[in-house]
Amino acid sequence: MEMLLMGMCVAVFGMGIAAVAFGAATRSESSDSAAQPALSLVKADAAAHFFSDRVAAPPAVPPAPAWSVPIEVLLLQIENHVRMEQAAAESFVAYPTQALLHSKTSSPFVN
């Protein structure tokens, strides 16, 4: 009887150990499988975009300036702007008011 009880205790103890070992093995596998893809994604992402998660810009090559207006036109715009500002300033100097000082210009150079 004593031998039978001792055998049963050993069997139960062994099954417990086996169950714990199985559980531990199963838990570690599942956590590894869940974490691994995320780690690999982060690593891949970090390698592609160092500081930003946006799409990486192509290699920096200074673009050739593409001016929208020829310089002659630009200079003419500046001159017209100066003339319009002078007219506005003349109005203010002739009759100084805050409204005339801050009257809006229709100069295309600044609009």
């Binding site: 310089i71 500046i78 100066v82 500002e85 300033a89 000082l101």
Partner: protein, 154 residues
């Protein structure tokens, strides 16, 4: 022709001042003086226009930017009477030739010293010319500053 610098002077006084000067023809596109040049003559515009410009960097190259235009009767180059006697703008005759009377600084000073009554009127007229320029440019400066503030506040 009435010159703003000679306002209030009698006919004889104005004639005496004008006789101090030399009539100059400035062909179209020619510079009357350039920024930084020694300013030893004051100019009274008689015919045509004088275009005043300042250099500015535009797209990496220096351009003469329009600042002001002087018409017949107006004064150009008052730096000749104000230290350090250097022109602070460049003056050019634009599309058409211009005619100016060049008044040498020393001759003008001697006349003003010898004729204090006329000198007083000329000094007042010069103050009007300089004061108008100051008022114009402080107004234009403030308007540009206001625009800069609005852009930066937007």
């Amino acid at each position: 022709m009435t010159h703003e610098l000679l306002n209030g002077l009698s006919f004889d006084e104005a004639e005496q001042v004008l006789k101090l000067g030399t009539r100059l023809i400035v062909p179209s596109g020619t510079e009357l003086f350039r920024l930084g040049d020694p300013a030893d003559r004051l100019f009274l515009t008689e015919r045509g226009r004088i275009r005043l410009t300042l250099p500015m960097q535009v797209r990496g190259r220096e351009e003469d930017i329009f600042v002001e235009e002087r018409s017949p009767g107006q004064t150009v180059g008052w730096s000749a009477l104000i230290p350090p006697y250097r022109f602070t703008l460049t003056a050019t005759a634009p599309l058409l030739e211009a005619v100016v009377i060049a008044l040498p600084r020393e001759a003008l000073r001697e006349y003003l010293a010898a004729n204090p009554a006329a000198g007083y009127k000329i000094a007042l007229n010069l103050a009007v010319v300089i004061g108008h320029r100051l008022q114009m440019f402080q107004t234009m400066w403030l308007r540009e500053m206001q625009r800069t503030v609005e852009v930066r506040s937007a």
